[in-house]
Amino acid sequence: MVGKLPSTLALLLALISAGAALAGTADLKPHKIGPKDKCPVCGMFVSKFPDFAAEIQFKDGAVVHFDGAKDMFTYYLNLSRYAPGRKTADIGAVFVTDYYDLAKVDGLSAHYVVGSDVYGPMGRELIPFGSESKAGDFRKDHRGKRTIRLRDVTPILLKQLD
């Protein structure tokens, strides 16, 4: 009973925010990573790499943790394989870890730097930032190739990173 409370709460929050298409992100809060949470894409324990962690929250309260933005996008762009029966519209919020603050920021509006000299637990990564200026500074300091947004992420790009 007690254990159900957070998920019920998340569901309630999701329902409240269901009206506005993506406004859900503003209301949903990032979840704490549990010691048993595994990345559904690569199978690694996420709690060992909190600095790169990402998560997807579905509107029904389900939460999936990832050990990097790359795996999160792999999952996001291929829901039919990793979460059969769910659609992109079921996603309530996406969170990624800002490189500088190590705080979870909205993954849908974040800026990502690719081609930098910073490697995540799964090798080459998309390094997330909450603002464009941060991404720009990082790109300069760490020889990043370019800054991209969510809409620029494609399966082809992810394949290049692997």
Partner: protein, 377 residues
């Protein structure tokens, strides 16, 4: 099963009786053996405990400290640096710190002055560490006088005496307000002792340090990991010195033990022969020798380890603290938090008890397999 235990019990009984029969020789061996283990265990316990204490202190220390150097010597840092350094990406905060040392000539003691970031005492008041309070003989509400940088004495009222949870951290500390400290130490306005940086992502340390060095050529950024490494190296070096000093003793023991363990005396050979003649099997003799080795080395190990524990944690390592602590002269009373690492004890055990026990078995096995008639003759 019961029969097995009974057999071992009888053999141990017999072994102990044999050992007691040669009190002088075995007692001497036990004494030297215990001493060696005591020394080794003391060194291990002490260095580990003091390292832990240092880690405890440094755990809460800032990720990056920025100092300034002039002609290679330490200088105060202009507070105006904060803006530039604070704007570096990845730095979440920059705080100037004010602190320093003070030698009290009248009482011949060193104090550490510090302006705390949170809840500093108001002007004219100070908080004293436990050792300072004892040296000054002051309690809360008393007034103490300290000579400032210009030679003029200044009076402070003691706000409180700091609780000493970690002796290393607070014993010699005096907390003071910023205004009083600048007046007392002569530190000019606009200057700080050093700057402390909070950086969330440790992957950025190298980049930030590089940027600071580029921004101010006389800046000297220090990473917490470097401080930790230095502490580690210093304590490892000190314990190394101790080990080297005592390795001579250890070597002497080794020769002694080797001689005792490998070469069986004529007495012992005859004894083995007699035992075989009265019907003991070779395995019984080996068992007896095994228990003999175990009895001596286990006793030495336990007594030595317990003595070392008492020595290090209850008497503050009086015997070799001067070598190991070095700067400990500052602290009239300094007690380490007791801490026992099972792995270290196990290592010590494996390095002392096991080899000794094994070396005693081999020669007895040789003696035990020879014809009793030849051995006795």
């Amino acid at each position: 099963m019961a029969h097995m235990i009974e057999r071992h019990r009888h053999i141990i009984d017999f072994t102990l009786a044999t050992l007691l029969r040669r009190k002088g020789k075995n007692g001497g061996l036990l004494l030297v053996y215990t001493l060696i283990i005591f020394v080794l265990a003391s060194v291990i316990f002490f260095t580990e405990a003091i390292k832990r204490e240092a880690m405890l202190v440094l755990r809460d220390s800032p990720e990056i400290i920025v100092q300034r150097t002039l002609a290679g010597r330490y200088q105060t840092v202009p507070i105006s640096w904060c803006d530039g350094i604070g704007s570096i990406r990845g730095v979440s905060s920059v705080q100037p710190r004010l602190w320093g040392y003070h030698f009290d000539r009248t009482r011949r003691a060193n104090y550490t002055f510090m302006v705390p970031a949170q809840a500093p005492p108001q002007s004219g008041h100070v908080d004293l560490g436990s050792a300072v309070a004892r040296i000054q003989g002051a309690t809360a509400g008393d007034t103490i006088a300290l000579q400032g940088h210009d030679g003029a004495p200044r009076a402070f009222t003691v706000r409180k005496v700091l609780e000493s949870e970690s002796q290393l951290l607070t014993a010699d500390l005096i907390l003071i307000s910023e205004r009083d400290y600048r007046d007392f130490s002569g530190l000019p306005a606009g200057q700080a002792t050093d700057l402390v940086l909070q950086v969330r992502n440790q992957r950025e340390y190298a980049t930030i340090v590089e940027k600071i060095a580029r921004m101010h050529h006389d800046a000297r950024p220090i990473l917490r990991s470097e401080i930790l490494r230095t502490y580690d190296a210093v304590f490892d070096w000190r314990s190394g010195v101790m080990i080297v000093i005592f390795s001579a003793a250890a070597l002497a023991f080794l020769i002694f033990a080797w001689d005792k363990a490998t070469g069986l005396s004529a007495d012992e050979r005859t004894e083995i022969g007699i035992l075989k003649a009265v019907g003991w099997e070779s395995s019984d003799i080996l068992l007896m020798k095994f228990w003999e080795g175990t009895a001596i080395s286990l006793t030495a190990f336990m007594v030595g380890t317990i003595l070392a524990y008492v020595h290090v944690f209850l008497t503050s390592a009086t015997l070799f603290a001067p070598v190991l602590k070095g700067w400990s002269t500052l602290y009239p009373y300094f007690r380490l938090t007791p801490w026992l690492d099972f792995r270290q004890v196990a290592t010590l055990f494996l390095l002392t008890v096991v080899p000794y026990t094994i070396t005693t078995i081999v020669p007895s096995w040789r003696a035990a397999t020879i014809d009793p008639d030849v051995v006795m003759r």
